[in-house]
Amino acid sequence: MAAAIEFRNVARNYGEVRAVDGVSLSIAQGEFFAMLGPSGSGKTTCLRLIAGFEAPDGGSILLDGQDVTDRAPYERDVNTVFQDYALFPHMTVLQNVAYGLRVRKVPRDEQRRRALEMLELVKLSALGDRRPSQLSGGQRQRVSLARALINHPRVLLLDEPLGALDLKLREEMQIELKNLQRRLGITFVFVTHDQGEALSMADRVAVFNQGKIEQLDTPRALYTQPITTFVARFVGGANVIEGELAQRLRGSPQPFAVRAENVRLRKMDDTVSGQPESQCTRCPGTVMDVQYHGATTRCQVRLDSGELVSAASTDADVAILPAGAAVMVEWPHAAAVTLR
């Protein structure tokens, strides 16, 4: 079966800037796909290229195996949920949702029936006659979702859909979106800068940086097996050791990553040793900052060699460590992931 979306060496420039720099990817049918990265990394541009709001300067874009590079947005079987929702203020909620049918000249009563169905799907059936200005942020988001789904597109694009919502609403919507996607079975592609969101919702994530994809993998693989230093830092904020220290600790300057939760701190006078020397790397350092996060406690430790390292622990002992305490930082060899 053809991939839902395929990018073949797509490039998009704005003057000198290479917003999308030779990106190739393939998104499978029915996948919940996330494009993650900092602002300016090219992820939003890629989304707009899929939708057709911009045309690539090089390469080709295929939907369902067909080359759509030259097609206008209204000729693609793709619909978008915009970051600002883009609801039309001079139409009611029902008219907004039915818009996709209206432009296809579907008869009036069928428009109404199908629009009401969609509103049911997003649990807003009672609000059909309101204007967008009378709705809350979360309600507007659902309306824009319903509006985008009315034509049963093969692919739904979501541009930072949860950014404007408060934390609780965001978490609710994350679950709802996931359920919706599973029910409808269509391909979802969503753009976000929030790595927690990407990891929890997506089947696969593409991590963007400066117009290129650094790594495209399942959330678990991204987290446990980052390939580059950027991915290691951006996804989960791992400790990245490189250069001199790496040379000293492992005999090669190749950078490597260690997740904070794999880093343990021991008091200098702690005689109860954990793992045998041969299976651990150890470094002395000083505690700089301790942050209590409820379930975990995070410590910032400055190693004697100068680097800053994070340790996350559920251990109650760690919480007592005062700033300035001398500690021994250690992690098992197996926890170190070699990076490019």
Binding site: A51, P73, Y74, D84, F88, V103
Partner: protein, 273 residues
Amino acid sequence: MRSDRSRRVHAWNKPSLGARIAAYTGLAFMHVPVLVILLYAFTTDDRTYAFPPPGLTLRWFEAAFARSDIWTALRLSLSVAALATVSSLILGSLTALAMSRAKFRGKESIAFLLILPIALPGIVTGIALLTAIKSVAIDPGFWTIVAGHTTFCVVIVYNNVVARLRRLPRSWIEASMDLGADGWQTFRFIVLPQMATALLAGGMLAFALSFDEIIVTLFTAGHERTLPIWFFNELFRPRERPITNVVAVIVMVVTFIPILLAYYLTRAGDDGG
């Protein structure tokens, strides 16, 4: 006692009585002439400008409406204004649609070009148009009047429409196209409804401007007489002055009301969006 927050007048900043008198007198001064005209339209006196008016009557209104030359002039002014409004709506909207979207070379020059007819004194526009008319050996008349009016009404429409279009988020247009509407449909369903108040306001301002126009029209009218031209000619003839007053009231009302409506439309647009 109103809360001090609503006033920017503090003890150290109180206006002197003189300042207050000066301000309100100035404001009143600006409205005196209009009130005068309204008063004189009803005077019973028919020869001089005597004040106070000896009595009040409506008979001049009757007399004015019986005059066929007034009706002819009025009809001409209305048709010129209607045509000038329509053509400036079209040209102004086209320009606004182009200028609100893209960045391109020459954008500033076009904006400058549009404003030139209003920036240069009316006498210059008038004599320029007349020179051109004579050079191509046309007879000045109805169509030359309309042409002149259109030229400076375009910028009025343009200003209104472009301001509205600039506030239209690009994402609305993209959303419409995303949902399956091509350019024409998007224009019909999304852009045009949003433009509507601006078109209305711009059109009414253009209408008022055209109806009231005298400076350029005197050059381009040839033998035709719009209502302002009729009025201007009557200024030098003392007979039947009260009828002139009535026409003044008519002109005032016909031009003032559209402008007032346009003002409220623009204000409402700003709040409602």
